[in-house]
Symmetry: C2
Subunit: 191 residues, 2 copies
DNA sequence: GTCATTGTGAACTGTGCAGTCCAGAATGCA
DNA sequence: TGCATTCTGGACTGCACAGTTCACAATGAC
């Protein structure tokens, strides 16, 4: 951490993020990381605290990106459309392989709860921020604060469920239809 | 496996199940298992194939129990009530500590997808059976087969979400209200 | 060319793991 | 009592892992 580094640190973190996202924390070995990041063991420890520190950095970055995606959607279309588009596009990611990796935050909660509670709590906090964004969108769409809170919580359940479901490699229709059903219900609950 | 054993095999499997359920496969060491099961290393390998074999046995047992619980509820009350009671009672398990462990099938899908795909697929199959049970209940309640399929898929998403959410140690209300909201919507979608 | 900075490869430590093996203790039956 | 069955503790193998260290190679500025 003290020594300056020459390689592109941010790019290296991105590559690590992909691995952690796909395989989880425990199943990703240092050797996996080094070969993906294209740096040597020694450089790794010069640039990062340790494996766990790098993981935290990836977790925070993942959360930041997810929020950016949501905000971009929100700026481009009506609030409920923005949410639905987020669910359909970025969570399923039908076109990209990434679609099957689920949500790194959800994965982390499940993997680390009871194993490394600090990591689990950090991921859970990020999820809380995202849920509040859902809530704000629903209020924008005309729901009462209380109703928006309920629906946002339900949406987070569905969100978490999709992330699990996306790991089951079921046919795409099995993912898309329940999302459509869910938003159909949400729209009629608001209006 | 060949040698006969003296201890209560079924009870030992139950104790292993609790550990695997709470901690996952990778985070549960053989030493953890042995001390929980109250047997020695040697007896373990005389009675079970290996750690993985025992895990499969636990997975199947967990699935069987879950289905039993659903069938018991279904025999005692109207179909949608049975589902709601299953969600509220057995998934959250607000009273028992078990409530925070989530669903072993969901946990396994998430932990093992990409690490041991055979285990993940087995857990996913069990989830499929449960989803078909949801569907049958919804048809009993008067939904068309197609509608029942959609709602069952959505319900499985919520189910999976709850299991994630239950690991986040949020206040209980945060769990119960979205379930009520969900079933409220389902009832109005059927009638 | 010189020299400091930065990255590399490989060896090494220590730890924890699953799985094997066996001598002997405990148990239970006749 | 004697004998066979069953279980135990512990030693042991072999492996994978995270993290440390260091001599040396590459790079780049002057």
């Amino acid at each position: 951490m003290a020594r300056p580094i020459g390689f592109d640190r941010s790019k290296a973190v991105n590559r690590a993020l992909v691995l952690f996202w796909r395989q989880g924390y425990q199943a990703t070995s240092l050797v996996d990381l080094l070969s993906a990041m294209g740096i040597s063991r020694s450089s790794f420890y010069a640039a990062f605290i340790d494996k766990r520190g790098l993981f935290i950095e990836c977790l925070d970055r993942f959360s930041g990106r997810t929020l950016e995606m949501l905000e971009r959607s929100r700026a481009e279309m009506p609030p409920v459309d923005a949410l639905q588009s987020f669910f359909e596009g970025n969570l399923l990611g039908a076109r990209s392989a990434k679609g099957h990796w689920g949500c790194m935050l959800v994965n982390t909660v499940l993997e680390m709860a009871g194993v490394d509670d600090e990591l689990a709590a950090r991921a859970s906090q990020h999820l809380g921020v995202i849920q509040r964004f859902f809530q704000a969108c629903l209020e924008d769409a005309g729901a009462t604060p209380s109703r928006a809170e309920d629906l946002a919580a339900m949406l987070m359940l569905v969100n978490e469920g999709i992330r699990v479901s996306s790991r089951r490699r079921l046919p795409d229709a099995q993912h898309m239809r329940p999302i459509a059903t869910t938003f159909q219900m949400i729209r009629s609950a608001i209006s």
